[in-house]
Amino acid sequence: MAEIALAALPATKAPARRAGRRRLGRTGFLLTLPALLLMLALLIGPVLAVIIMSLTDYQLGAAEFAFIGLRNYAELFADKVFWKSLGNTLAYAAIVVPGSVALGLGIALLIQAGPGLRAFYRAVFFVPVMATLIAMAISWEFMLHAQFGLINLTLKALGLTPRAWLAEPDLVLPTLAVIGIWQLFGFNMVLFLAGLVSIPRTLYDAAAMDGARSALARFRLVTWPMLGPVTMFVVIISAIRSFQVFDTVHVLTKGGPSKSSEVLLYSMYSEGFEFFRSGLAAAIAVVFLGFVLVLTLVKARVIEKKVHYS
């Protein structure tokens, strides 16, 4: 159409029209400029800065630095503590993601099925999400205390053996994961509740007519598939958030005992702000970013196609 219109125009008018179109393009660019600048300053800039820093020997407060290529990464990948911390982070996520998703879904189904007090339950289970995790970690510290903690006192009263929850190497990561689940499932629950509300009631009517008699049959035929998009979102968000675990580790264990609760962000923190090796810390941050990027790509590319039905 545009070509035809242009061809039909007298020759003198064509350049004017082309100039007009250029002006339009320039205006469009100018209008997006503020957003572009903000994105550069707040998102892309810092990421680039971290990537560049990971290629230097910069130390916090140092006056000068030199580019050392990939030596930070080489050091990192040769370091047993880094692999330990990466393994711990993955193990933590492997407990927290299924735990918080399953618990969030279970509670959401129970609240949705019950006749009353929905707002009350919703609020109660959402409290851990809103509370400051540092403060909550301190409460957990009291509860988990080996001698006077509420949990061990309860176990003792029941005649069971008390454990040193935060001091035994095999127990510390699962214990932190339970706190992680406690903190996260309320958020997942709210997302699942929103998903449940949006399932058309007629699908349940159709399922009832088609012969789905049990709650399990209804769940498998309607609820679970219809929650697909929500579940995918919840799993990705939970994974990213469990990769970010830091507060509880910092308050409760400082990565110990003997690095058995060392996680990625805590390694980054201690390298960067305790040993002041900012270059190495930046390299850890880049690894972390890589994981988040992969998760986001998985969400965007693979799963999204399979769980959206239209």
């Binding site: 007519m209 035929l221 219809m226």
Partner: protein, 386 residues
């Protein structure tokens, strides 16, 4: 196939009475339309038959069996929903398979992965697949079997919903306004198809609609529901020509029946507000208030001076094959609508003075409460005037 018998069904939602003692007998293989405006309780009645809703009191019997406390799955009914309610994550084939899988496979056989280990499951699935293919063939959706509902048009989804209802050979089909989400042309087409499907299957159909044309064209009997009650039940022609209640007369027929306020004279003939005697004799006490109904197609043009109804043409609607004239008759509140041949009306200018005549045998007379008043002597089929 089975007959359905409803006895004294009552249902209220909170303070609102939705169904007020509905009784209805639907014969085997019959096509009954539940017709009424929105909010009259027709959908609730259908859901009570299906078992999706519980009645407060009353009985539902299907094939002679009392359905009290039986869940929908145990009633062997199929339902087609207004929104089609197809499972969006399943292909058309899998959608149509669901009722068969639910009925014919055990819980273990339906399990993912390990269900495949169950002996005989493969054979059962093959039988089901064949039935799905057959139903798809009947509905001409064979080429769509591997698509997802999201990739189908409204009409195709409608067919899939019908197919899902058909595969199981249910005792009866319940349809809840199945055509109201389709565009006008498709609706006309699907009307014929559903009527044909009913003839082919010979099954009992209960069809809820607010569209009188659907009810008139498809069903063997219409139950007109108003305010939670069945006001009249009968064949479409009977409902149209012999309404027992003014509300039925007003609800059926487009354009609406003309209603003229009148008073009975000593002989039982209605006298309209402007003083003209409308003709006929009816079982009404002298002086009783009457509401006289006359359908637009029963009015004909005549000389104003000799006609019982005369006035100015306020508005003309040319529908091609016919013309609707809105005539303002002095002494009658609303314009009287007449359906006349366009040739006859074309000569009339705007605001033309016209007379309208009719055969008194075509009058449907109701009392002040809207109940039908019987004609005393059936007047001879001749124009009283003109």
């Amino acid at each position: 196939m089975a007959e359905i018998a409803l006895g004294e069904i009552h249902k209220r939602f909170g303070e609102t009475i939705v169904l007020n003692g509905v009784s209805l007998e639907i014969g085997e293989g019959e096509f009954v339309a539940l017709l009424g405006p929105s909010g009259c309780g027709k959908s609730t009645l259908l859901r009570i038959i299906a078992g999706l809703e519980q009645a407060d009191s009353g009985t539902v019997r299907i094939g002679g069996r009392d359905m009290a406390d039986l869940p929908p799955a145990a009633r062997n009914l199929a339902m087609v929903f207004q929104s089609y309610a197809l499972y969006p994550h399943l292909s058309v084939r899998a959608n149509m398979m669901v009722p068969l899988r639910m009925r014919d496979l055990t819980g273990f056989e339906r399990l993912p992965l390990i269900g495949a280990l169950a002996p005989g499951r493969r054979e059962k699935l093959a039988v089901m697949a064949a039935r799905v293919e057959m139903a798809a063939e009947t509905l001409k959706i064979g080429h769509l079997l591997d698509r997802k509902p999201g990739q189908l048009s409204g009409g195709q989804r409608q067919r899939v919903a019908l197919g899902r209802a058909m595969v199981r050979e249910p005792a009866a089909f319940l349809m809840d306004e199945p055509l109201s989400n389709l565009d006008a042309a498709l609706r006309v087409h699907m009307r014929t198809e559903i009527a044909e499907l009913h003839r082919a299957l010979g099954a009992t159909f209960v069809y809820v609609t607010h569209d009188q044309v659907e009810a008139m064209t498809m069903s063997s009997r219409i139950a007109v529901m108003l305010d939670g009650e069945i006001v009249q039940i009968g064949a479409p022609a009977e409902i149209y020509e012999d309404p027992r209640d003014l509300r039925v007369a007003e609800f059926i027929g487009s354009p609406r029946i003309n209603v003229i306020e009148a008073v009975a004279d000593a002989a039982g003939a209605p006298v309209a507000g402007h003083g003209a005697t409308l003709g006929g004799r009816f079982a009404a006490a002298p002086g009783a208030a009457l509401r006289v109904g006359i359908r637009p197609e029963h009015l004909a043009l005549a000389e104003p001076a000799r006609a019982p109804l005369a006035g100015r043409v306020r508005h003309r609607e040319n529908l091609g094959a016919e013309m609707l004239l809105h005539v303002a008759v002095p002494g009658i509140a609303t314009p009287v609508v007449a359906r006349v041949a366009p040739q006859a009306a074309r000569a009339l200018g705007p605001e033309a003075q016209v007379g309208l005549v009719f055969d008194p045998a075509d009058l449907r007379v109701f009392d002040a409460n809207g109940r039908r008043v019987a004609a005393l002597a059936r007047p001879e089929r001749s124009r009283a005037y003109g």
